[in-house]
Amino acid sequence: MTERPNLNYIKEISGGNEDFEKKFLTIIQTEFPKEKNDYIENLAANNLEESAKIVHKIKHKLGILGLTGGYKLAIKYEEDLKYGNTRLEKEFQDILKSVEEFILKIA
C-alpha cells in the first residue's frame, strides 16, 4: 500500500494549537513548491550537487508529513546524487507528486 502524507506530526507538535497548524501549513505551501521547482531546474541542468542539497531540504518535509518510506528513499537519493547517480529519480518524483496533491487538497 502506498503511503500518504498526513498531519500527525504537525498535530503532535502543535498540541492542539490551531493557529500554529494554520501558519505552519501556509509555510509548507510556500516552501515546498519553491524547493520542488529548484530541484527540477537543477536536475534538468545536471547540477546534481545542488539537487542533492535541495533533496536534503525536501527530505525534512517528507518526515514532517509522515512519509517514512519517502524519507528513507530521499536519504538514499540524496547520497546517490552526490555521486552522480539519478536511478531513484522516478520514485522520488512520485513522492513529490503525492506531496503536491496533498498540499493542494489542504489549501
Binding site: 500554529f20 510556500t30 516552501e31 531540504k57 527530505k59 525534512h60
Partner: protein, 235 residues
Amino acid sequence: MKCIIVDDEQSARAIVKELCRTIPEIEVVAEFPNALEALKFLKYNQIDLIFLDIHMPKLTGVDFIETVTNPPKIVLTTSDTEFAIEAYGYEFILDYLVKPISAERFHKCAIKLHNVFCKSASDFERESSLAEDDDLYINIDRRLIKLKFHDIQLIEAKGDYIEIQTKNERYRVHSTLKKIKEKLPESRFLQVHRSYIINFAQIVDIQDNSVLIERNVIPISRSNRPELMQRLNLL
C-alpha cells in the same frame, strides 16, 4: 534562557519555535535564515543558547561554530546524524536533535538544558549561602562543636568514622566523606583520594602523587589528580 534559532528552512524554524513555546524557561528572541545574520546579531546581543542547523548554504553550522568567538551553548538540529556527531565534540554543544524533531525528544533536550543552566544557578546559591555561614557544626559526645571552614586542613575517612584535622585539633566523627563533602564549599575543598578531602588553602606543596598539608603527606589518586591540577593557579 534566551535563545535564537538559525536554520535556512522557515518550516524548521517554525517547529523549533513552537516546541520552545511549550518550555516556559526558553525565550526565543530572534530567528535567522542563515549563519551570517546570526553572527552579526551575536556581535551586539548576549544570548544563552542557539538552536543551530548544520546544513545551510554559504556558511554551514560547522563553519559557524568555528567562526564564532565565545559561543553560547548550542543545540544542533540536523537531518544528518553523522555531521552532528562530528560537531558534538565541542564542549559548548549540549545536544543534537534529528529532524523532524519529535516533541518527546525535544522535551528530553529541555531537561538537559534545565540541568545545565539551572544547576549552575543553584550551585551558585549554595556556594553563596555557605560563604555566608562559613562554618560547620560537628557532633562530638552530644556537644555541637563549631568548625570554621578555613580552620579545617583535611578530612580522613577511617572506617565508619571521619577524622577532621584542624590546626590544633583532630576530631573523630561518626560520618562518611560523602556526607561531609556535601556540606563543604566545592570551591575550597577537594577530594584527592577515596580516603581524603583537603582544604585547598592549606596546601604547602604537591609532589608526584602526594600533596603536603602542613606536615601531613596525603596521597593523590590517579583519578582525582586531573581535577586537582586543573584547579591550581599554575604559573
